[in-house]
């Protein structure tokens, strides 16, 4: 006996509005909340510069000229409307990481793909059976 095609329920207008609002809330909460909870950090740090002269910040004459053309100055304070380059030069990434965190992150990504592919395969078989008229 051929399996009857699945007939989905018709979603009400209110149900559609609810799903739409849920999606909007999920998008905004899940993507935006980490920014405000400080979870979406960029891993940047500020190094201490003992000497903020151009030479002390390891900037040669060409570099110095380009910084000045771009509106920056040496030192730690703004001068004549020019911002201090030391703030940019002192900003560095901190690449120290824990192997446990790396392994946990890798596990999350791999598990996510594994589960999504596995679940999709189950659903796909149902789609193919119905589309190509498999019988039970």
């Amino acid at each position: 006996m051929a399996k009857a095609p699945y007939r989905p329920p018709v979603q009400s207008q209110i149900g559609q509005i609810f799903d739409t609002l849920f999606l909007l809330a999920l998008v905004l909460a899940s993507l935006f909340a980490p920014l405000y909870l400080g979870l979406a950090g960029s891993g940047k740090t500020t190094v201490e510069l003992s000497d903020t002269s151009w030479a002390g910040m390891k900037q040669n004459a060409t570099m110095q000229a380009q910084w000045e053309k771009l509106g920056y100055t040496d030192g730690t304070e703004a001068k004549d409307g020019r911002q201090p380059a030391s703030k940019l030069i002192a900003t560095r990434f901190d690449y120290d990481f824990s192997f446990v965190e790396l392994a946990a992150s890798a596990l999350v990504v791999i598990a996510y793909f594994f589960i999504v592919f596995y679940w999709s395969k189950k659903e796909y078989r149902e789609v193919i059976d119905e589309r190509f008229g498999n019988s039970e």
Partner: protein, 462 residues
């Protein structure tokens, strides 16, 4: 399955088939070219200028694999939604739902990043012109609202507009490249400005994160599948010429910027090509690159709205999302409800979030999509071996591009982890919650057999 029933009047209305290969090129390059004008240079911040160049090449390799794989699958599965439609036919519903979300968020976040860049540039130039109190926020809102309106009114005008301004932005980079006389050391001073690898080889790997920005979005060409006159010819042609254009533009951009600016500045600049023009002391070049940056940001945001709304529309049409989103405008023949729904999402991010975080959201969604593509093409060849269905294009050396894509994706996940690890996990949490919502609630509204719309034989193994 190009037709769609409009809930408003019960008529069957389809998207219009009016686009040619030039529009496909504009859609792909238009989204991405802004990546040369901003964003790629954060790779310099993560690893130094030389690391950014290596990242540019490796990301170029990654995207060449993406373009090759995409051209084969898309020339066969020519449906709005692009990779979403591919996932639906090749992998299964839950994967398709996730791929649809990757597309929507990669493009919507990119749209937000474009609006931020445009606002920042107007603010910077306003200050240079003596208007110290110029506020970027109104320009951000206006950009998103204007482009959403343009998209609402029709695809042909939207993408023709993109074609013109993308071509202008590309020519601007070429003009700047020749103006700085790369054959001499009048402007370009790599010998004085390149400082090796400040973070060592770990920095090279880390730079791969933003190296993707040189090309991110080229795969968006597939979104036009139901609106091009000849998908089997126009999609591979537009995509492959697009990636070639981007490889040339990326190399020129790196050469110009790294030869003009100290890496510490370049790595944190919001508009590096405009800054490069400033360093030439040429008002003409500054104006040209100002317009080029504005145009590239507009073109990219414009194409992003186009692509994100098509993906959202396709999911609505299949009832993966509320079916109200599957409606086509009876007069303009555009997925107008999807276009309108995504406007507040883009606005909120563009208004409140910092640029590098917004870009990372976009990159992560793209990265998840490319990982899917590597598996997908292997399944595609396995389920429908060559000769069993008509393909518009067959990519060579299979499965080498898929394996290379996977390896490069793995390296890029690690690159994102270096510095943005918490953001990676936050994004995964979002996709896991959304998947649960789909599998446990939403999927009950989806017809089963009708999801498979291609006139193909039964897949091998089923």
């Amino acid at each position: 399955m190009t037709a769609e029933t409009s809930p408003a009047n019960g008529e069957r209305i389809s998207l219009l088939r009016v686009l040619g290969p030039g529009h496909v090129w504009a859609l792909g390059v238009g989204i991405v070219l802004v990546g040369e004008y901003m964003g790629w240079n954060f790779a310099v911040g993560k690893g130094g200028a030389i690391a950014a160049l290596i990242a540019c090449w490796f990301a170029g390799l990654l995207y060449t694999c993406v373009a090759m794989i995409d051209s084969e699958v898309t020339s066969t599965v020519a449906a709005a939604g692009g990779q979403y439609a591919q996932a639906k036919h090749i992998v299964g519903p839950l994967m398709a739902f996730n791929v649809g979300l990757y597309l929507v968020f990669a493009y919507t976040m990119l749209e937000a990043a474009n609006a931020i860049t445009l606002g920042h540039l107007v603010q910077t130039v306003g200050a240079m012109a003596g208007f110290e109190n110029t506020n970027d926020k109104p320009f951000i809102v206006l950009t998103i609202m204007f482009l959403a309106w343009l998209n609402y009114r029709g695809v042909y005008t939207t993408l023709t507009f993109s074609l013109v301004i993308t071509a202008f932005a590309f020519v601007s980079i070429c003009v700047l490249f020749f103006a700085v006389q790369p054959w001499s050391d009048v402007y370009i001073k790599h010998d004085q400005l390149l400082t090796g690898l400040p973070y060592g080889w770990l920095g090279v790997l880390a730079a791969l994160h933003f190296g993707m920005w040189f090309y991110l979005g080229i795969e968006g060409t597939t979104q036009a599948a139901e609106e091009v006159r000849s998908p089997a010819r126009a999609l591979p042609l537009g995509t492959m010429t697009g990636i070639i254009t981007l490889l040339i533009a990326a190399t020129m951009t790196w050469y110009i910027c790294s030869g003009l600016m100290p890496w510490e500045y370049l790595g944190q600049s919001v508009t590096p090509l405009f800054d490069a023009a400033r360093l030439t002391n040429s008002t003409l070049l500054m104006v040209l690159l100002f317009i080029g940056t504005i145009f590239s940001a507009l073109a990219s945001a414009n194409c992003c709205i186009n692509d994100a709304s098509r993906a959202w529309f396709s999911m609505g049409r299949d009832h993966y999302l509320p079916q109200v989103f599957g409606a086509v405008h009876p007069k303009y023949r555009t997925p107008y409800r999807s276009i309108v729904f995504l406007v507040p999402v883009a606005l909120v991010f563009a208004y409140f979030a910092p640029l590098d975080r917004v870009i990372t959201f976009s990159i992560l969604s793209g990265l998840l999509e490319y990982t899917f593509m590597a598996f997908s093409v292997i399944l595609f060849r396995r389920k429908w071996p060559l000769g069993t269905i008509k393909r518009g294009y067959v990519h060579p050396f299979h499965p080498l591009p898929a394996v290379m894509l996977l390896v490069l994706c793995a390296a890029t996940y690690f690159a994102v982890f270096l510095g943005y690890g918490t953001q990676l996990i936050a994004m995964m949490v979002f996709y896991i919650v959304a998947s649960l919502w789909f599998a446990l609630h939403r999927y009950k509204y989806v017809r089963r057999g009708e999801q498979f719309a291609m006139p193909w034989p039964k897949p091998v193994g089923y």
